[in-house]
Amino acid sequence: MSAVLAVENLSVAFGPARPVERVSFHVNPRETLAIVGESGSGKSLTALSMMGLLPRNARASGQILIRTPQGRVDMLALPERRRRLLRGKQIAMVFQEPMTSLNPVHTIGRQIEETLIAHENLDRAARRARVLELMNLVRIPDAARRIDDYPHQLSGGMRQRVMIAMAVACRPRILIADEATTALDVTIQAQILQLLDNLRRELDVAVVLITHDLGVVSQWADRVVVMYAGLHVEEATPAQLFADPLHPYSHGLLAASPRNSEGLTYRDAPLAEIPGSIASARGEVGCPFRPRCPAAREVCGAVVPPPVPHRGDRLVACHFPGILTEEARLVPAFA
């Protein structure tokens, strides 16, 4: 396979609850894949599964295939001590909260160094040189002085840069950014996303951007996976998705976001919203979006639509894809 990461039929269960249900997608080398969804969609759990960091009481099934120099490995099938060797080295993650994601009692230099200690065989001087190199790579100013600073002495944006430095220290093939910019100011957000994109090209790493922000998706992603209630409901390029959303949920997401190109102001019309909440999906036998879908039909309540290819390389999990965008398309009446 040419993909650097392939998630095959991933399901995660906590007792009776199944927050992730048979999700499949792949990530190509040097591309940015965005995973979009609201809270409760299962995107963060998917990310944790990719890292093999699920809590002990979670049961995961399916495969997480990572292409390493030694061949393909399935993260879920490996014992923990083998997984540990992959984490940080082949696949790395940057988390949402830079304020609490760094240990307050160790210097940032030491925390970046830890990744190198765990995976590489360098002596002390070489490690320190590498740390400085990494700090420069992520554009931390005055690196030589800041290397001995403590996290509380840095701003949020700086801390996130440190997190990124820690993540790319060993040149992983895949970098997952789980809402990495949500907790930052808008201007800093843009800088960090630009940094991730630069690193993607400079270090030849595939980036998985987990976000709920469609603006981020439109600017930075090569492909988008939309998740709802643990299911993979749509996959397309941003251009395709924004021009022509096939799944009613994607359609609702786009309708709900203000788009400057249309000159939309709040005085003209209220923002459309998707009524109800994701909690309505619980207990649904068929499509989980049915309770909130304006176009729901009887089959939607009976059968879960699987993601199927549509119009070439797009995927959509809907019995009636595109129903909301094309008024002209008449839906055959159902018995």
């Binding site: 080295k89 609490t100 307050p104 009692v105 830890e114 840095l154 820690m166």
Partner: protein, 328 residues
């Protein structure tokens, strides 16, 4: 962002903060001395055997004991400045010398007991936290609660019963083999044999506290974001436990350890008495028996000063352990 304050500046700040407290303790000490039955003149008269009313009055006048309370306070403070804590009738020594003679014994015992309590307590707490909620944790929890409920003097007696009387492994009292002429390492080992039971008795109470504290701290830290980051970096479990979890759990433990120093001094009073350990605690017991209030209050004052010094040291240690402290 602010840099950490230098150590000398921190010491100065701690010193300044402690001054009003020291003054308060000194004044309190003085007031207690006034309350105590009998005064210096009675002491001298007692030593002499007897005295008449006139002699007593003259004595009091010559010692300045008939002056106003404020005047006496001034005298007291003056004496203190000259490191004069009064005279002990029972031991016929200056109180300060007497205390200084006994202080090292107590400090060694307390340091050992505290060290033992921290090491055992943290280890126990770490084990408890890794089995959180399961049977080993519940059992150890009740066990540590049991330790917390045992009076120090009683466990001392029971330990003597077991290890000295029944098994004959360890001595039942004193601090060294009498009349022995051991030197160097042999002497240290000999002293250590005598210190085991008293240190254990003193530390048991605190083992429980540190175990529960460590357990709670580690459980809370385990859920912190930075531990998740450490796992995501692929660090070994040992390194995560030591360098991230335990290292951060030390902060609340050291805070508590500092606060316990004063309490432990109280425990030392009974433990030293039970084991005839030559320290400040046993001196206090003897002073109580003899109603020698000069010595008793001298011990109160000096032990308070030791507590203040230890608290200052703990403050310094804290700012080393947690770089967030001290940065404004």
């Amino acid at each position: 962002m602010a840099q950490r304050k230098s150590v000398p500046r921190q010491i100065w700040r701690i010193f300044l903060h402690a001054i009003p407290t020291v003054l308060g303790i000194v004044v309190l000490n003085f007031l207690l001395l006034q309350l105590a039955p009998g005064d210096a003149a009675d002491v001298i008269a007692a030593e002499a055997g007897s005295a008449t009313e006139e002699t007593m009055a003259a004595l009091r006048r010559s010692m300045g004991l008939d002056l106003s309370v404020l005047e006496q306070l001034k005298t007291y403070l003056l004496h203190l400045a000259q490191l004069d804590l009064g005279h002990s009738p029972r031991y016929a020594m200056p109180v300060l010398d007497l205390i200084m003679q006994r202080l090292p014994g107590t400090l060694i015992l307390m340091a050992t007991a505290l060290g033992l309590a921290v090491v055992l307590g943290v280890a126990l707490g770490a084990v408890m936290s890794s089995f959180a909620g399961r049977i080993p944790d519940r059992l150890l929890s009740v066990l540590s609660l049991l330790f917390y409920s045992i009076p120090g003097f009683w466990i001392g007696l029971m330990l003597i019963l077991l290890f000295s009387v029944k098994l004959g492994w360890l001595p039942s009292g004193g601090s060294g083999t009498i009349g022995s002429s051991l030197t160097g390492w042999a002497a240290v080992l000999d002293n250590a044999r005598y210190m085991i039971l008293p240190a254990m008795s003193l530390s048991l109470f605190y083992v429980a506290i540190y175990a529960r504290l460590t357990r709670a701290a580690m459980l809370e830290i385990r859920n912190q974001d930075y531990v998740r980051t450490a796992r995501a970096k692929g660090l070994s479990p040992l390194r995560i436990t030591l360098s991230h979890i335990l290292r951060n759990a030390l902060i609340p433990v050291t805070t508590m350890a500092g606060m316990h120093f004063g309490n432990m001094l109280g425990g030392a009073v009974v433990v030293e008495t039970v084991f005839s350990w030559p320290g400040l605690g046993r001196l206090a017991f003897e002073a109580v028996m003899a109603r020698d209030f000069n010595v008793l209050l001298g011990i109160l004052l000096l032990s308070s000063l030791v507590v203040i010094v230890v608290n200052g040291l703990v403050d310094l240690l804290q700012s080393r352990l947690d770089p967030r402290i001290g940065a404004n």
